[in-house]
Symmetry: C2
Amino acid sequence: MSNPHGNGDAFIVTYHLHLEPGIDVDQFARNICLEQTVELSDDLIVEDSIRDRVVGKILSIQSRSRHIYELKIAYQWQVAGHELPQLLNVLFGNISLKHGIKWVDFEGQSPVLPGPKFGLEGLRKAVQAWNRPLVCTALKPMGSSPNVLAEMAYHLALGGLDIIKDDHGLANQPFAPFEERVRQVQAAVLKANRETGGNTLYFPNFVPQLDDFSEQLALCRQLGIRGLLVSPFLVGLDMIRALRAKGEFILMAHPALSGGYFGHPHHGIEPGLLLGKWFRMMGADASIYPNVGGRFIFDLDTCQAINRGCRESLSHILPAFPVPAGGMSLQQIPQMRRLYGDDMIILIGSGLFREDPNLLQAARKFRLAVENPL
Amino acid sequence: MSNPHGNGDAFIVTYHLHLEPGIDVDQFARNICLEQTVELSDDLIVEDSIRDRVVGKILSIQSRSRHIYELKIAYQWQVAGHELPQLLNVLFGNISLKHGIKWVDFEGQSPVLPGPKFGLEGLRKAVQAWNRPLVCTALKPMGSSPNVLAEMAYHLALGGLDIIKDDHGLANQPFAPFEERVRQVQAAVLKANRETGGNTLYFPNFVPQLDDFSEQLALCRQLGIRGLLVSPFLVGLDMIRALRAKGEFILMAHPALSGGYFGHPHHGIEPGLLLGKWFRMMGADASIYPNVGGRFIFDLDTCQAINRGCRESLSHILPAFPVPAGGMSLQQIPQMRRLYGDDMIILIGSGLFREDPNLLQAARKFRLAVENPL
């Protein structure tokens, strides 16, 4: 392999292995290299060039603690053909069906991992907000008419929120079909912006069946929508890449259905990698995650790892916004700012509705809570 | 709710809950109904009609064992809008990010869950094979040229295999680009069929980036390809539905990347549901799974549950073929037939290559092993 360090022909994947006593770590690692490529045992590979060019190369195996090892493997990019579905397959396809393998890191550059188009600075510019966290809420509840949602969005925009997104469960249901909802809400937000001189953005939830992809996208384009909410595990991870390739929309990723990979301590995908670095590499400008202290399971270390995955310096890839969410309230904002710094989007949904039934007032309080220096 | 039993306006989802001591099961269940729809606590729902029509209805909660409960919830179909991505979201979107929730069953009828187009009988008819398991292998290893793969397929087809599929890692890599590979392999298999009078089918691995979906499909159509191998978690679960909606191709599902949902005993998705009933409902005519005794983790009960999910009688939905695989050998065939019955496709990949370096001979032995009555 000409360049095993991920900055050219090869990419590098890191796993933590949790091995039962008696398992030979070298053989286990070698089996991963074979399983993820040729799906043959070594002695059945006839062509030496395939063993050389196609099977992964073990770069290092380091003991981390009792029974736990860190394994780094380099693969030539050609095994993934620079296509995202096959890249996912090499990284965690078949071995997802084994035990004791956690995918924890990835290094490599490819057109299919271009990073955000707008990124942290581009999104700040779009909403004209500097030196403070951005504030965001979600239109809800599912079952509301487009008219009700638009009225809600109008008041929230008047109150000065930066981003108003659909709840990720608002799809194309009969009570608020995609086209009607997006038309009405976008019009309401633009009206509020004209009245306030503000820059509130509306991000519709983009969760089309494949057949409706182009039509829904054309509608968003026509209405001057600037950003979309996308749940990669609901619509397919390649959808983020396909949207990013178009380069038209700010992309906010939602973690729905991703949680299967996080439930086991020693198997699956590290949340900091998947929801942080990986979603960002695929093209997300912002990544929503369930914050510690809310309705979900992540601890503070996991949340900080996601923040790092979104924001840490990577060559040729812009930083993205982490979006802590999932049961937050205005009272938690000072602590979130102290812990995470101000380069985040704070997403408060139901907590904002609870704050004040007058949504304009609630939004104003939310905005004020991030404008004061700590 | 007019019809809470899943045969009309509603669908029913079943979970097994594993609750820590002190957690109130009724409240936990109610929170799932809210989380998966309105994402609001009960007291913040303003419109009674939303509480009635949109929030899930608890049908039953039954204690199964210490700390474990079976919960059934009915949702009106309109919350999913008869679209697959949003249906997945209601079933396991946000709660995938919690602990102690295993999705174990689903009942309901919808155009997005049409079941197989061809099914068990349709696939038997396509290969003209009755009263025996079908035999299938995978072209490999990745890195081989289209010419080598076509030569391999030719001999395997001469030997009488029913189905020759691509390894699911053969995508669109430079060593065997999709178009060139599919053209050459399909030509080789058709040539063998002309010589033997046989009915071997070639199923290319269909793992396109979204941009290439239509073009790759058109090529398959033009070449007279009858079936496709599809990995729903690599290309997005809606891809299976989209292909099924076209109704042109026999669909064989591969479980790559699905394993994250199976690693934890008390959280995730039951393999028998996901790889059996659910893939079948989405439209898979056959579903590959890692069989007990191979390189992967499922036990016999899990494998039998997948078999049941594929084959059990469901109104208006055809049965599908279970495809036990993942490190099988010819020696295991009699036991597999005794355990599973003959309505299965036996997929032996590397074990066939090990059986005999002469692939025509290896394929003949494989075919013979299923032709003899037990």
